[in-house]
Symmetry: C2
Subunit: 128 residues, 2 copies
DNA sequence: CTTTACCTTCCCGTAAGGGGATAGTTTATG
DNA sequence: CATAAACTATCCCCTTACGGGAAGGTAAAG
């Protein structure tokens, strides 16, 4: 399969796939006589794994570690669990930070008259 | 006041302050005979505004717009309101995205045995 | 045969600063 | 007073995870 077909099938972009190869996340793809990258079922499965892990918010670096664990038949599930827990914590922290912003914005929005007069509690608050 | 004092007082870093000046978010600070940036109450208030807006998650570009509105005595509060609403929407989208990740991770974590055996539902899921 | 659709590599740009080198200033200390 | 510690200045590279787009080769379609 060519890179475009893989992209279409996995939902990633060709750019991303090349990028993952470039940074060493996945091994360089085999090349056809036309120098096109040629993917087999195994490589596609790996890319799918990468895509799914990325969609869960894991960094490329983390995905590299997850891939290594995946390939290691003798890993302990604890190791994966620990990574997931750490990632969860990071996500929860981001959510908390965003929730704080959201709450503040909500308060400000409620106070703003939202009309054509210049008086604006939002700006007043930012300037406090 | 020197940049370090301003930084300490506002909670920003000197690097950030220089950066904001560099990208034109705030006007270049006046310089003393030693070439040090010298800040007055007015500039500090502006930097405080910037810092507060940034802490609410507004991008530097957005902060520039907010600053412009702040300086414009004849702005309509609608304009500020609209920016805040748009920003709120963006925040809510980020939260929703993170919540989705969190939910998936939670499910996976519950299923993982978290022991020294290799069997791992998390990896299995990523590979599905 | 030519157009269109892929593919290749390469290089630039992003957001918002952080890190660190080098050099001049100012302040604190012995 | 001399020197060392603490600031400040500019400058340049690094980060994340690709997207955009150029230049040029290849393949499939009309």
């Amino acid at each position: 399969m060519n890179i475009g077909e893989v992209a279409a099938e996995t939902g990633m972009t060709a750019k991303s796939i090349r990028y993952y190869e470039q940074v060493g996340l996945v091994a360089p793809a085999a090349r056809g006589q036309n120098n096109y990258r040629a993917y087999g079922a195994r490589e596609i499965a790996e890319l799918r794994f990468v895509h799914r892990a990325r969609s869960l918010g894991f960094s490329v670096k983390d995905v590299a570690d997850l891939l290594a664990l995946w390939r290691d038949r003798s890993r302990a599930s604890q190791q994966v669990h620990a990574m997931a827990v750490a990632h969860m914590a990071a996500i929860e922290q981001k959510i908390a930070s965003l929730e704080t912003m959201k709450a503040t914005l909500q308060t400000l929005l409620r106070r703003c008259h939202n009309n054509d007069r210049p008086d604006c509690p939002i700006l007043d608050d930012l300037a406090r």
